[in-house]
């Protein structure tokens, strides 16, 4: 009897979801956040439509506070030329000088990420936005459908989700409504790394341990990535061997001390890890269940 390996089964499920999205929506887009999940997503997007080029563009919502290495990696992806990479910045937010350092993570995330995303979706009239979120990341994500409906105001109604049976997805929407699609719903963080290793998928070097300049702030190790970062009284920049488990805006993303500088090392470290993936994300700790509230308002 034929039986598929776990990674093969996950890959096939994700490809199915990509094809269903491309076939059912007028103007789909893949949200590209440059992280490891986005790298896997892009790899699956190419596979799903091979030998054709991907039939949808990528969209990166740039908060202007991403790590410099992330932007360099994004530009390298775009230079390959087989897929269009759109970049959107909330210019209004830039004019107001919104910064995570002065306005705090909540205001910055809302204006430069959530509002910016909605601006971009409206600007290009995208009716389906594919994202790399996984259900094992966070409690409210564990509850979300694979094809997750949004009303004309981009809002998610967690108490009234469409039933989703088998892999038979309801892709019908009215004008101005949209869906968010999550092909990696059933992947775990460990699956993602195993797949990156198996398929040789390039990821941003920040995931690998290296000596980097960091500051300890509010219990997190924050990397000093550019001159906008100002030291508070008593803070000192130190060189430490660190890596990142997730990537976001650099002032809001905590590093972990690690010696794992290879994929094998990362997988080994993860297998014995006693902490969860989003622990380093400053924005998740704003208030309990805050991810749900942000998602209702349109955060990815």
């Amino acid at each position: 009897m034929f039986s598929m390996s776990r990674l093969d089964a996950l890959e096939a499920e994700s490809i199915h979801i990509f094809r269903e999205t491309a076939a059912s929506f007028r103007r789909p887009v893949m949200l590209y956040s440059i992280g490891k999940d986005s790298s896997v997503l892009l790899h699956l997007l190419r596979k799903a439509f091979f030998p054709a080029s991907p039939p949808m563009p990528l969209l990166h919502v740039d908060t202007t506070w991403k790590f410099r290495e992330m932007i360099a990696f994004r530009d390298q992806v775009a230079s390959k030329g087989d897929v269009e990479v759109l970049v959107h910045i909330n210019e209004e937010g830039v004019r107001q000088g919104i910064s995570p350092l002065t306005h705090g993570s909540a205001v910055h995330t809302d204006i430069m990420k959530t509002v910016a995303l909605k601006q971009a979706l409206d600007k290009y009239a995208f009716d389906a936005a594919i994202g790399g979120a996984r259900r094992d990341e966070e409690k409210s994500r564990a509850k979300e459908r694979i094809f997750s409906f949004r009303n004309a105001q981009h809002r998610w109604d967690p108490k009234n989700q469409r039933p989703e049976l088998w892999n038979n997805y309801n892709t019908f929407i009215q004008k101005d409504e949209s869906v968010r699609v999550f092909p990696l719903s059933n992947w775990t963080e460990l699956d993602v790394w195993h797949y990156i290793r198996r398929e040789n998928i390039p990821v941003v070097p920040l995931y690998f341990a290296k000596a980097r300049p960091v500051v300890e702030r509010d219990g997190a190790l924050i990397m000093v990535d550019d001159e906008r970062f100002t030291l508070r009284d008593g803070e000192q920049v130190q060189m430490k061997d660190v890596r990142f488990r997730t990537l976001g805006c650099y002032p809001l993303t905590g590093a972990i001390e690690s010696q794992a500088d290879t994929l094998d090392g990362i997988i080994e470290e993860m297998s014995v890890s006693r902490s969860s993936e989003r622990q380093g994300r400053v924005i998740d700790n704003d208030a309990n269940a805050s991810m749900e509230r942000k998602k209702q308002e349109g955060y990815f």
């Binding site: 039986s3 776990r6 967690p158 892999n167 309801n170 719903s185 198996r198």
Partner: protein
């Protein structure tokens, strides 16, 4: 059987993934049991345990050392506030022996559709029963839905044993009753065990409190449960996407949902039954020699044939049956009831077609499994129905092939998912009743009358003036030499529709019959005027869909309710207000206003003759015969 080009992966759990759900009535302790299971399996990261400790203290100030495991899976604000589970939560964990995907399902009846969402992809169900309460209606409902969706393996956890002093007699009674229920529903494989989720008895490890139970713990049962792998079946692949990067390549992408395929195999494209041979099996990792169920591939064929999304590529020697009428089990998930004869969209595989439920054979009382007569299915009700599709599809019985036998129903207005169903078998009359070919057609018939046949559909409240205006329009058209017929809703209720009342179900059927008769008359070449209140947008759309473009003219006689009530030509509003007539449109039954009628008649002080002229003028624009000065 092995796969060519299969990659080795080195993850710790390469096979033996088990997908299961936890279900049962509210407060039986599902979320607590699952949280306990994750904790005992060592799958909770330190920061989650810290957060759990903090949250537990906040909610249970009286018991500072107890961990409230239900908080782990109840992830929504509303769930934590109300202490209930609203929607399915998925958790991923593994032990040294196996990896698991578990869906924690809500227990409340109103969230049954979410429970079905979780159950549709599960191999095994853990059914929880509170030892103090025994089997509850929701225990039976969930077991019924598990059986309906094809789950053949259940673990019964008689929980909260600590609250009945671990008494074996109580446990034995519940087990006996449950086994009887499961047997009736065709679930043969039932493991039973006593648990106390809060204290962890028999969850992650065996308990010394239940010395009379010598079986394995819940975690051991899950680690060793075998799941019967379904028969591979014959080759089937729904086409999801036609891949055409340039003129040199044309491939059909999809996920194989049955059997296997190899290069050189003869296949048939269904339902049209076009034959071809598989030339290549394309993937981004290189071409394959064979591919199996579960793989997402792209096929190329040896000849150019017309294939589009929704078609099925199947084994040429053993193709799938094709039909347009079925019997099916259904679970209704819409807030508004399922009404027979209303049209919905049905999605199966990658195909979406129009479907009408022609009959509800019976609904099922999930507590007693009794079959009851029904004229509608309400939210969360289960029934057995006959379906009539507007296109034939290739299908399989659900138990043979869930992808080609499992369907969802979608409301055509709101686009909500309102039902799901499992195809059972094709009704024989679909195969036996064929369209008779007729030489004369509509065009010939209407040409000989010197006109274009049309259906003028007058909709509006009772007393709006539909019949009066339609009568004037018909007289005018007749005077101009057109061949017409007026179908008046009230008059038809004396004959064709005299068996119908005024419930929502009967109104749907009434409109369907009038629309079908109008359709026949239009086919005969006539200009038909149909006057029916037709209060629901869905049925007016059904009527419209019977006709070709421009053939159907919706005339909305837009007279306000207070004006209709003031006129009250038949005294009906008075009776309805007095409570002598029930389900009266505008009073206690809704009228859904047409959004885009071709003609909207607003009296605004004009006489019926003037309104009739407006309709005639609209109609004459499209007629070949031109009348000099038709509109006075």
């Amino acid at each position: 059987m092995t796969m060519v080009n299969a990659k080795q992966d080195n993850s710790a759990q390469v096979s033996g993934l088990l997908r299961f759900i936890t279900c049962g009535s509210v407060d039986d302790g599902k979320s607590t049991l699952l949280g306990r299971l994750l904790y005992d399996a060592g799958m909770l990261p330190d920061d989650q345990i810290a957060a759990l400790t903090r949250d537990s203290r906040k909610l249970h100030a009286d018991a500072p050392d107890v961990l409230d495991f239900s908080l782990l899976t109840d992830g929504l604000d509303a769930e934590r506030e109300q202490g209930i589970t609203i929607d399915v939560a998925y958790r991923y964990f593994h032990t040294a022996r196996r990896s698991f995907i578990v869906a924690d399902c809500p227990g409340h009846e109103q969230y049954t559709r979410n429970m079905a969402t979780g159950a549709s992809q599960a191999d095994l169900a853990i059914v929880l029963v509170d030892a103090r309460k025994g089997l509850l209606p929701q225990t039976r409902r969930h077991t019924y839905i598990c059986a309906l969706l094809g789950i053949r393996r259940v673990v019964l956890a008689v929980n909260k044993m600590d609250l009945v002093d671990y008494r074996q007699d109580i446990y034995d009674d519940i087990v006996h009753e449950y086994r009887e229920l499961a047997g009736k529903l065709g679930i043969d494989d039932v493991d039973c065990l006593p648990t106390a989720a809060l204290s962890g008895d028999n969850v992650g490890r065996r308990s010394h409190q239940t010395a009379w139970y010598d079986g394995p713990s819940l975690l051991e049962i899950l680690e060793t449960a075998t799941i019967a792998t379904p028969q591979p079946g014959e080759f089937r692949m729904p086409v999801q996407w036609v891949n055409r990067p340039d003129a040199s390549f044309r491939g059909y992408a999809g996920t194989i949902c049955g059997g296997e395929v190899a290069v050189g195999d003869a296949v048939v494209v269904q339902p049209a039954m076009r034959q071809a041979v598989v030339e290549r099996i394309v993937t981004a990792d290189g071409d394959l020699e064979h591919a199996n169920a579960g793989q997402a591939v792209t096929l190329t064929l040896d000849r150019e044939i017309d294939i589009s999304r929704g078609d099925i590529i199947a084994s040429a020697t053993k193709p799938a049956p094709v039909a347009d009428q079925f019997a099916a089990h259904m679970l209704w998930m819409g807030d508004a009831p399922l009404l027979p004869n209303r049209t919905y969209w049905l999605k199966v595989g990658a195909r979406t077609v129009n479907v009408r439920i022609t009959a509800i054979k019976h609904k099922v009382d999930v507590n007693t499994q009794a079959k009851l007569a029904a004229s509608r299915l309400d939210l969360n009700e289960v029934g057995y129905c006959n379906l009539d599709l507007d296109h034939a599809i290739a299908f399989e019985a659900y138990k043979t092939n869930p992808t080609l036998g499992g369907f969802i129903l979608i409301d055509r207005q709101s686009h909500a998912t309102v039902g799901c169903g499992m195809l059972d078998f094709a009704l024989r009359r679909a195969a036996n009743v064929h369209w008779q070919h007729i030489d004369l057609d509509k065009q010939i018939r209407s040409l000989s009358k010197g006109q274009q046949s049309r259906c003028l559909w007058f909709t509006g409240l009772s007393g709006a003036g539909k019949s009066t205006i339609a009568n004037l329009v018909e007289r005018r058209l007749h005077a101009l030499g057109y061949h017409t017929y007026l179908l008046d809703g009230d008059n038809l209720r004396h004959g064709l529709n005299k068996d119908l009342g005024f419930t929502n179900e009967a109104r749907v059927e009434n409109v369907r019959r009038v629309a079908e008769v109008a359709h026949l008359m239009v086919d005969a070449g006539l200009i038909v005027l149909a006057c029916v209140i037709s209060p629901f947008a869905s049925e007016r759309r059904f009527a419209r869909d019977l006709f070709e473009e421009n053939e159907f003219v919706e005339v909305f006689v837009d007279t306000p309710l207070d004006e209709c009530e003031r006129r009250d030509p038949k005294g009906l509003y008075r009776k309805a207000r007095a409570g002598d007539i029930a389900n009266f449109t505008g009073i206690d039954s809704p009228y859904e206003v047409p959004e885009h009628p071709e003609v909207r008649l607003v009296a605004g002080g004009r006489r019926a003759e003037q309104l009739a002229e407006e309709v005639v003028a609209y109609l004459l624009q499209g007629q070949g015969k031109q009348e000099g000065g038709a509109a006075p």
